[in-house]
Amino acid sequence: MTYFPNTPADQQEMLRVIGVRSVEELFATVPEAIRLRRPLKLPSAMSELELTQYMSQQSARNRPAGQTACFLGAGSYDHFIPAAVDFLASRSEFYTAYTPYQPEASQGSLQAFFEYQTLITQLTGMEVSNASLYDGASAVAEAVLMAMAATGRQGRVVTAANVHPECRQTLATYLANLPTEILSLPTPAGTIRAEDLTGVLNEQTACVVFQHPNFFGCLEEADKLVKVAHTAGALAVVVFDPISLGLLQRPGDYGADIAVAEGQCLGIPMSFGGPYLGLLACRESLVRRMPGRLVGQTTDRQGRRCWVLTLQTREQHIRREKATSNICTNQGLMALRASIYLALMGPAGLREAANLCLQKTRYALDLITRTGRWQTPFARPVFKEFVIRRPGVDVDRLVSTAAQQGLFVGVPLGRWYPDLADSLLVAVTEKRTQAEIDHWADVLASP
């Protein structure tokens, strides 16, 4: 085994020092009765060459987005990732370090996470960001738990049908054993009506969770929804798209209490769904309710500025069952990627990326609806995603045929919305060229 540095001679010497005759003896405390008496049934060992051949073969049996113009979104997006992100994030010293428990030997990561926290507050207009959560969906659940703790309200959580179905499912799973009712507003017009929202809020409502731009790609009247929530004494939890903030008002600007997001679009490959990055930022007053790690600034004995993990009394390893969350290993490297991405993009890059998404999305939407074969069920402004419908079409077959022609045309919505079984959710990022969009429209509009 090429990963074991000890030779048989080393092992003999080590056994001698320990005072046993065989490695077997070291397992004496494992009762005979529960020993495994056979080798594990696993594929036999592969050399690196064989493994490389095997994995390359399996990889060739997939069709990656690089070979296929990808119009899929719904929480995972084919945005461009500068080469410097991959390069820097693969630095050994970041990549193979543990959580920075020894600050003196971990200033690299600690400073990077402090910068991450700052970048996220700059991005969102919020006052505090933690150092990452698992992904967007679990971040929504954590935000809701946090809101419940902060408000002392356990009775109800209000969300809407146009929040990502997988976020709502995750939330439901997290709350399954709590007495909390999750109320999901229908959104037949694509967006939440403020009146509908007012109607379902009561004094047991901990928070309102809405997504903006929402799952259908439409913009919500975010500022209004926040006000409605606040009027009922509930917190406003907004699920945002980081790229959209190149153009749109930030959650902090319109008064959100907690802002969460899937951070995949910030320089993280799609990777079939993970690892991604849960963003969570909030008002300063909520900081001690926050889940996850926080890095804080301090000084060393010579008075030099430096960074440490802080407010750890919120965390499980100190507070155990009273912790704000159970999270331990988070998504450090993904937070690093997001930081590098944001540092490279800067305000101008982010704005341009957002604008390209917006322009191309509108171009695509206009193009496809102009064909007359597809219409959009929701007449609302969109950002980088939209829903189109073609009554009677077999969406799944369409999607498969198009894939063979080198196009991922959109995500069928039927699996989550039976009444949208003839609809596709389409995303257009800055990577899509006009030629690809035109081709996409041709394929979709063909009879």
Binding site: L72, T173, H317
Partner: protein, 484 residues
């Protein structure tokens, strides 16, 4: 020769007008923003991110990285964390565009390679666990704990039992009680015996029809295998409870014994410990769980299944708890795990365990004379030494030894955990360290213990910073950079 300028905060290096990314010109007819977006939702300007060139950013992060210790640079004997070598082949292969460039909602026929590998992952974990059903979804160990406890709750709900307590040994990792609390359970701590093992009597006293789950870490956080593990499982099962095995310490038993075989009903794996996926200075990890047959229906959806026409994702599972995150899981991490398992095979995996246990016992044997190990004469893959005597006699704490080790070119052991050992130094060498490195580590500790106490009080001396003021950090938290 440190570059102090490049490690200024990004924000301090920002210069208005600088940029690190150029995007293509818009190739579709461009329309005014006001036509496309409602005015009240539009921001006046882009977020106030720092403005930097690409060379600035690269030099910043390359320099920052050098302020870290890591497995690729140093021995990292951090107990409970299994900081083994992270094979480079796994990173290369998991990053092939045919994996990294897949969208989670692609048509299933364009995903047959990756689904085959994930199916294989499920199968291999089931075999190692001795438990038949696996979910790859949880994102880390703690997430796996939570998921499994939600599975347990769903199971009891389904069979009509109201069980509200989760029993947890006092030596358990903090995630165990925290996960149980998040899942809505009440926590009952179980004390350890003077041998550092589960106190069967205390356990027996707390077991009743309220007992949902007993969470056990085996080998426990002292590095000791619970010799009564089968008995413990029986006791819990007798009152209708379930056994959850915290699999953080699987490095100590692969191919030797299987949780399912000794009675566990549920467990998680930490691929970022046991299966060598890099920890990334704090994740991403993964937390796949394995459960017994009767709990299988409750696992989160989707699960990868093999059919005659190929692999697909099954989410038509009516008893499932639903999902604990979006999409399938931390796939990039799971692929590295698959590479690791395929590289080792059955014999190799058993050797991992044997070599890890050999290395730990060798260190224990060499260190115990100078740093007593209060629980156990031998250990499994890790052990917990104590600086209590040194503290009493020379006022040298575990923390100070840890800090001084940094100066000697070693990362520090885990300190002050588990709580039942005073001045604890929890040491886990893993199987990928050489005897030469272990010897050098022992010599460093020997040398340190001969150094004047004052040197240790002020340690570390050669790191980029000296000891930070953690109290100040927590009292007046500064959690982001702000313009003055």
């Amino acid at each position: 020769m440190r570059n102090q300028q490049a490690v200024q905060l990004l924000f301090e290096q920002s210069r208005p007008g600088c940029r690190g990314v150029q995007l293509p010109a818009c190739d579709v007819p461009e329309r005014p923003l006001e036509e496309l977006l409602p005015k009240n939702l539009l921001a006046d300007r882009a977020p106030p991110l720092p403005e930097l060139s690409e060379p600035d950013v690269v030099r910043h992060y390359v320099n920052l990285s050098q302020w870290n210790m890591s497995v690729d640079t140093h021995f990292y004997p951090l107990g409970s964390c299994t900081m083994k070598y992270n094979p480079k082949r796994n990173d290369r292969l998991a990053s092939l565009p045919g994996f990294s460039d897949l969208h989670p909602y692609q048509p299933v026929e364009t995903l047959q390679g990756i689904l085959a590998l994930l199916f294989q992952a499920q199968e291999m974990l089931a075999e190692i666990a001795g438990l038949p059903a696996v979910s790859l979804q949880p994102s880390a160990g703690a997430h796996g704990e939570l998921t499994a406890l939600l599975v347990a709750a769903a199971y009891f709900r389904d069979i009509g039992q109201k069980r509200t307590t989760v029993l947890i040994p006092d030596v358990a990792h903090g995630t165990n009680p925290a996960s149980a609390a998040m899942a809505g359970f009440r926590i009952v701590p179980i004390p350890s015996t003077s041998q550092g093992l589960v106190d069967l009597e205390a356990l027996g006293k707390h077991l009743d029809e309220q007992t949902a789950v007993f969470m056990i870490t085996n080998p426990n956080t002292l590095g000791l295998f619970e010799p009564n593990i089968a008995r413990i499982c029986q006791m819990v099962h007798q009152v209708g409870g379930l056994i959850y095995l915290d699999g953080a310490n699987m490095n100590a038993m692969m191919g030797v014994t299987r949780p399912g075989d000794f009675g566990a009903d549920m467990m998680h794996f930490n691929p970022h410990k046991t299966f060598s996926t890099p920890h990334g200075a704090g994740g991403p990890g993964a937390g796949p769980i394995a459960v017994s047959e009767r709990l299988a229906p409750y696992l989160p959806s989707p699960i990868v299944v093999r059919t005659e026409t190929g692999y697909r994702l099954d989410d038509d599972r009516p008893k499932s708890i639903g999902r604990v995150r979006s999409f399938l899981g931390n796939v990039g991490v799971l692929l590295r795990m698959v590479c690791y398992l395929l590289t080792h095979g059955p014999d190799g995996l058993r050797q991992v365990t044997e070599q890890a246990v050999l290395n730990a016992n060798y260190l224990l044997a060499r260190l115990r004379g100078i740093l007593p190990v209060p629980y156990g004469d031998r250990c499994m893959h890790e052990f917990v030494a104590s600086a209590a005597r040194l503290k009493a006699e020379r006022n040298i704490s575990a923390m100070e030894i840890a800090k001084r080790l940094l100066d000697h070119g070693f990362y520090a052991p885990t300190v002050y955990f588990p709580l039942i050992v005073k001045e604890a130094l929890m040491i886990e060498p893993t199987e990928t360290e050489s005897k030469a490195t272990l010897d050098a580590f022992v010599e460093a500790i020997e040398r340190i213990l001969q150094e004047p106490a004052e040197l240790l009080h002020e340690a570390p001396h050669t790191t980029p910073i000296s000891r930070p003021d953690e109290v100040q950090a927590a009292r007046q938290p500064i959690l982001r950079w702000q313009t003055r």
